[in-house]
């Protein structure tokens, strides 16, 4: 595994769109070549070298390329976008679309991330040690194919629209979430260890949501059926009140049985 270390110089005045900061783009390139990769600050097309000090060469393939991003990345977007393999570690906060449309590999952000992170994710692992804003692991506007695979783990809180149009994969939020969890969900699993304000599972067709804390306003379309024991997160076997829904939404049948979305509320 080769490591490329980027240190943000903080020379951008507006937001920097660093869509080429991925193991895929860095693979097979020297530090100098990486410095020549394109990025955008508003309508000014720039090169990564203008905005980052770059140390180390990329590995032969994406899978054996590791990228460590240092310095203040709070105003840098699109790190890890569409990556398929390898690893990125961001040591500060970073902005939108981090790990967006990710297919494989691993991204770790040690600070907070803004909105639309992990959007359209298909595989890999995305870890946020701080908080995430809105539309975590959601779908791009209009796309009915939201998160389809992979794991997102946010150690802090998340905002609204977690996992909209989710179809697969897993999202774990250690803290609270706000409105709209798994809206239009068609599969996958969301675990929220804190509280949620409301609209959990609205228009949900299929999928599982576990909430350890309180849901302030439950959707009318969810109906209590039974208590179950389940292991939402490995090694944490707990008892949950099991609700099915959204009874206002369409549901398909499998072997004569209607498949509902599920909310598991910790007892």
């Amino acid at each position: 595994m080769s490591t490329v270390t980027l240190t943000a110089k903080g020379t951008h005045e507006l937001y920097l769109e660093a869509y080429n900061v991925t193991p895929d783009a860095f693979a097979g390139k020297t530090a100098d070549e990486i410095a020549g990769l394109e990025c955008h600050e508003g309508n000014r097309k720039g090169k990564l070298g203008e905005y980052f000090d770059i140390d180390g060469n990329g590995g032969e393939t994406a899978a054996d390329t590791q990228i460590i991003v240092k310095g203040n990345c709070k105003k840098i977007k699109r790190i890890g976008q569409q990556m398929t393999a390898g690893e990125i570690i961001v040591e500060s906060d970073c902005d939108m679309y981090t790990a967006g449309w990710m297919k494989g590999g691993k991204v770790t952000v040690k600070g907070n991330v803004d909105s639309f992170c992990g959007i359209g994710m298909a595989g890999g692992e995305f870890i946020v040690e701080g908080n995430a804003q809105n539309y975590l692991g959601s779908a791009y506007r209009g796309d009915w194919r939201g998160m389809t695979g992979g794991l997102i783990h946010v150690k802090g809180n998340a905002g609204n629209d977690v996992a909209t149009f989710m179809r697969g994969g897993k999202i774990i939020i250690d803290g609270d979430a706000f409105l709209h969890v798994c809206t239009h969900g068609e599969g996958g699993t969301v675990v929220i260890k804190g509280n949620v304000e409301s609209r959990v599972g609205g228009q949900m067709v299929k999928g599982d949501i576990y909430v350890y804390g309180q849901i302030k306003y439950m959707m009318p379309g969810f109906k209590y059926v039974d208590d179950v024991e389940a292991e939402a997160v490995e090694g944490e076997k707990l008892t949950f009140a099991h609700y099915i829904g959204d009874l206002g939404e369409r549901h398909s049948k499998r072997k004569g049985e209607i498949i509902y979305g599920n909310i598991y509320l910790k007892k």
Binding site: G42, K223, G248
Partner: protein, 444 residues
Amino acid sequence: MPKVIKNVGCPYCGACCDDVEVTVSDDGKRVLEVKNVCAIGTQIFMHGGDHDGRIKLPRMRQPDGTMKDVSFKEAIDFTAKTLLKAKKPLMYGFGSTNCEGHAAAARVMERAGGCLDNCASICHGSSFLAIFDNGYPSCTLGEVKNRADVIVYWGSNPAHAHPRHMSRYAIFPRGFFTGKGHKSRTVIVIDPRFTDTGRVADYYLQVRQGHDYELFDAFRMVCHGHADDIPDVVANIPKETILEVAEVMKNARFCNFFYGMGLCHSDGRNHNIDIAISLTRDLNEFTKCTIMAMRGHYNITGPGAVWSWQFGFPYCLDLTKKTMVHMNPGETSSVDLAMRDEIDAFINIGTDAGAHFPIPAVQHLKKHPFITIDPSRNMASEISDLHVPVKICGVDDGGIVYRMDNVPIQYRKVVDAPAGVPSDEEFLDAVYERMVELEGEGFI
């Protein structure tokens, strides 16, 4: 002799009444009288043409804070240079601009490499997000007039926002299959306030503010055979009322939902509309059902149409790459761009961001060059570095506008603008030409 001009479109709300009669003075410069128009529309016509209060020259802010008249040439040059200097300029507004103006603006901003947004961003933008996710089963207003026997106003208050909507299209008119007018229709109003629209309703439901989504879900449960599972009270509405109203909708011959800001502006935003669309779809299993956004300005539907055919997106366009366009409201929307300090120049056109943005957003925008293009003084013009007066579309300029149901209405010019005052299109085309002059070759 004063001249009467008929079939004039009204430049106020999205109902786009096109039966206005305007009497203009002998010299064609002043409006003397208007007929078939609401109280608000009347005011607009009275402000057109050449009169004392009309601003006729651009005004540039001086170092001491005062405004000084400058030539249009200077204004064009300043605007072109501001755009070219900026890394990410934003042009926002377009509620009262014709479609020709929207197209001209698009050309300017594509060349400048900036963001382009319209008032839907803070108004019916939620509707666009819902349409992206769930579609839009709708119809034209004439269908409502001729067929609809159940009308639902949800989170909208036409008595105040679209004064002639109920009489022209929805409740009172006698259409082909609705010959008895009001008597052949059942009106349902759902709103947290008992509005003036609520007063004409057969059913008024005082929904708990911010909980429309849950109420929609309850109606959908009825459609999906789960009426029994509805809790006793949803969003302050008792279960019996929900069941009764759901039956009215299901047994309609033709049901239409008109919804407004009550859904767009409250918690969940687009999801409130998204689920309304789902309910509309569900009801089509029982009857015919359509839904329509009560669009605010007379041509706020226009930029959504023009930019969709030019770029594929109705609003919140990020053209900074110049080779492709990106859109994602929440990021590329004006208020978010402002609050996050993503942009470095602001042009306010045909709207008043100064009055209608939350004040912290205005404060952020004001950190950068700030230009207003608008016929009259407003809050944005009064904090601008440059204010460019233009013609009023629908009064002293014609052009195509799109009604709330996407029907194009061809507007007429009724009076002459003061000499030398350009239309939005003319001003923006001049800015484009100036940019080409400063930079070289234009688009083919």
